[in-house]
Chain length 150, copies 2
């Protein structure tokens, strides 16, 4: 096999893998949204988790991190505030901006979501061997970095 053919085969294999990844990630995401009792989809939990990890954050930064438009994030933050999960204060450094922080109730709601998600997925992980779990752990890291890069 010539170099050019090898490159074509590798590119084809990478494309196949790319599509497999996109597909299986979407399937898992949808399956994970069927957690019993959970009424918000994944973006709400991702936002709460990011705020928990990073501290109070501006609306536009939250929107950028989740790859959504600012009004989309404004609406979500308004709903989360309505649930008592986040609070909003004017950013003292720039009075145009709003800082969104997570409340104790938000931390509790996020923890409950995490328990539900773990309850749904963890038993399946327990059935796997250590090599497969290692592959998944590495893949989770890689998927994150790929998602952040595109």
């Amino acid at each position: 096999m010539s170099d050019l053919t090898q490159q074509s085969s590798a590119a084809h294999a990478h494309s196949e893998l790319a599509l497999d990844l996109v597909r299986s990630a979407a399937r898992l995401t949808r399956a994970a949204s069927t957690i019993s009792g959970v009424t918000y989809s994944s973006i709400a939990w991702r936002v709460l988790a990011d705020i928990e990890r990073e501290g109070a954050t501006r609306v536009t930064d939250l929107a950028a991190a989740q790859r959504v438009a600012q009004p989309t994030m404004t609406t979500l933050v308004q709903r989360l505030e309505g649930e008592g999960w986040v609070d909003r204060v004017v950013d003292p450094a720039d009075r145009r901006a709003t800082l969104v922080g997570i409340t104790a109730r938000g931390v509790a709601a996020l923890a409950a979501y995490r328990r539900g998600a773990a309850n749904l997925i963890t038993p399946k992980l327990a059935e796997l061997d250590a090599a497969d779990r290692a592959a998944l752990a590495r893949a989770a890291e890689l998927m994150l970095s790929i998602a952040n890069a595109v």
Copy 2:
């Protein structure tokens, strides 16, 4: 470390991995939805792909496969029909049922989506070493089977 503590540690690690997986899958899914020119979200492409692979399929079967309610699927199929990507015929075996088949235009639209998705993700895969790509390939299989099992 006693057996019980080991089990607790393993369960905890599995929970952490479960949450990491759910999170990174959701992030990748969202990132993949930012493909230039793509106006439908992932469920449309998954449905088209499933119909392409399985042949004409009933609305309820499509809904079950995607973990959504039947009316959700009815609405999506109506829209896909409006795009000329699927056609619908009465199932001769049961006149209550509708069989949804993919059209040539649907095949073309699905192919275009796949090209876009591959263009977005494949360059990132090319930057990885073979072990990482192998981990991702294995993880894609595992995520699919986990999604199908929960």
